[in-house]
């Protein structure tokens, strides 16, 4: 096998892993987690009726039932919509969210059978920028859906979404400037490698400990960017009608999926930049077992972050829109800038 063909195949395998094993798999499961976690913390039982041959296994068949329902529902397109954009909008939303998954470092470089393999699907020196760009492009799906629907409610929802996402896009960039400066790179893989070892005693040299303020701000801004509660104003399922009112069937399902997907991307970024990525403190990982441990470590951290974000989602009430924007522009952005300045001075004085 020629080296070129091998590298192409290996990249395809990694992308397939990112999309199917991480993206779609966890996004599907998140629907179940969302229902069950909210149910348990609200003293309920939660969805447990879907069964196959009488087996219910804690309602785990509900995501499958949901997907089947979405796929078999009528895809109703109202009169007056711009059909092209109306169809493109969910594809844009979900597509860019999925693309963002491809640059997340699920593992580092390992040596297996004399070959040097990288476990990052897209090895790019600007991986962080790539993910941020994909998160930013997801905005177009929201605006397109709002505009193409030929409905004032959807349009206003889309504009709300656009304002929110652009605001938090800027916050996100400013927040991530500090850790990027600290690590001295935009390559997510290198960032993870810089977090090896221990900071002080048993505390690992993770971004969450070297950049605690940036970590908290990142979680807030990331939740807002992926349009999850308490920042789910663009959707506002029941109260304030969102950009996808005119959607039904699987197109609507794709918008729902986008939320989960963006949540996974943001959590992946949080793990890679702030929680040491695939690192296990005090262990040097290599070889086949190392690769498996890397993936397991990364996925475990990813699930933990998703769990906490889900808990926040079911704890806090929704923000008002002006509160949301003032939180972004007046609080997070200045704090992120201050954090960046302190980081720059700190790094300058340390050297």
């Amino acid at each position: 096998m020629s080296p070129l063909l091998f590298s192409v195949l290996w990249t395809l395998i990694k992308v397939a892993f990112a999309l199917f094993a991480v993206g779609l798999n966890i996004a599907g499961l998140l629907g179940w987690v969302e229902r069950k976690q909210s149910a348990v913390l609200q003293d309920r039982i939660g969805a447990n009726r879907a069964d196959i041959f009488g087996f219910r296994i804690l309602g785990l068949f509900h995501p499958i039932a949901d997907a089947l329902k979405m796929l078999t529902k009528e895809d109703f397109v109202p009169t007056g919509v711009n059909r092209l954009f109306h169809t493109m909008a969910p594809c844009f939303s979900l597509g860019f969210a999925c693309l963002g998954l491809a640059a997340i470092p699920y593992g580092g470089v390992v040596h297996i059978a004399g070959k040097t393999l990288s476990l990052v699907p897209i090895e790019s020196p600007a991986g962080l920028l790539f993910v941020l760009a994909m998160l930013g492009l997801g905005l177009h799906g929201v605006m397109m859906a709002g505009w193409a629907s030929n409905s004032n409610y959807a349009l206003l929802g889309g504009l709300r979404g656009a304002a929110q996402m652009i605001s938090y896009e800027i916050c996100m960039g400013t927040i991530l400037a500090a850790p990027a400066f600290l690590y001295g790179t935009l390559n997510l893989e290198t960032m993870v490698e810089k977090q090896a070892g221990f900071l002080w005693g048993p505390i690992p040299r993770w971004g969450a400990f070297t950049q605690p303020l940036a970590f908290i701000l990142f979680l807030v801004a990331g939740t807002a960017l992926s349009k999850r509660a308490p920042f789910d104003l663009p959707e506002g399922e029941a109260e304030i009608v969102g950009y996808h009112v005119e959607y039904s069937g699987m197109k609507f399902g794709m918008f729902l999926m986008t939320d989960f997907m963006e949540n996974i991307v943001v959590s992946g970024l949080a793990v890679a930049i702030f929680l040491g990525g695939w690192q296990i403190p005090g262990m040097a990982l290599d070889g086949l077992s190392g690769a498996i441990l890397m993936l397991a470590s990364f996925i475990a951290k990813l699930l933990a972050v998703l769990f906490v974000l889900m808990q926040v989602r079911w704890t806090l009430p929704r923000f008002r829109f002006d509160q949301l924007l003032s939180l972004g522009w007046k609080n997070i952005l200045p704090l992120a800038l201050a954090n960046f300045l302190v980081t720059v001075w700190g790094v300058y004085l340390w050297r």
């Binding site: 348990v40 913390l41 003293d43 309920r44 039982i45 808990q311 926040v312 079911w314 704890t315 806090l316």
Partner: protein, 188 residues
């Protein structure tokens, strides 16, 4: 009288509340406590231990519905000690019914001490609004709304009509298609 305005002082937010993160943390502690306590209870119950249930949910179709003691449910006609219906066909319930769902046909009673009795007594549950006025109006305590039956749906409008034997409990309520040939409503 002139309207008085009482200015209410809004409590000023402290710095701790304005930072917001501490309050979020308090909320998270509450929800995490609920989550883990309930999870532990679910697991312990699944293992067969008799602890408090982790959820207050009633699994309705499997477990019976829990109704309040004073819940107004389906009507029930009462009988005298000799087994004949208490209803004297005074038509007070039919008159007071705001939904006009009660239909009574009176007839002579063979008992000389009782003037009338009901020949037919139909209640259209599909029209009934469960106000309980019929129960209040009845002078002989012949009608109650305590059958504790809330599963009243049916596939046709005719099947929503309960006849006297069914309301008395003499005959089980069956859909019309399943019923053997017998008068739609008759004297018990």
């Amino acid at each position: 009288m002139a309207m008085t305005v009482r200015p209410v002082e809004r409590p000023a937010r402290t710095l701790k509340e304005q930072i917001f993160l501490w309050e979020v943390w308090i909320g998270l502690v509450v929800t995490f406590r609920h989550l883990f306590v309930n999870l532990a209870r679910h697991v312990l119950r699944a293992l067969g231990l008799n602890v408090e249930p982790g959820a207050v949910t009633i699994q309705y179709p499997e477990d019976p519905a829990v109704l309040g003691k004073r819940a107004r449910t389906r009507h029930r006609l009462l009988k005298r000690e000799d087994g004949s219906p208490r209803c004297t066909s005074c038509l007070l319930c039919e008159t007071i019914c705001p939904a006009k769902c009660i239909h009574i046909t009176p007839e002579e009673s063979p008992d000389p001490r009782i003037e009338k009795r009901a020949k037919t007594f139909d209640i259209d549950i599909g029209l009934c609004i469960f106000c309980g006025d019929c129960v209040e109006a009845c002078p002989v305590d012949a009608i109650h709304m305590d059958a504790n039956n809330v599963e009243l749906s049916s596939y046709t409008r005719e099947d929503m009509i309960w006849t006297m034997p069914e309301l008395l409990g003499d005959v089980p309520k069956l859909p019309r298609a399943l019923r053997a040939t017998r008068p739609a409503s008759g004297v018990s």
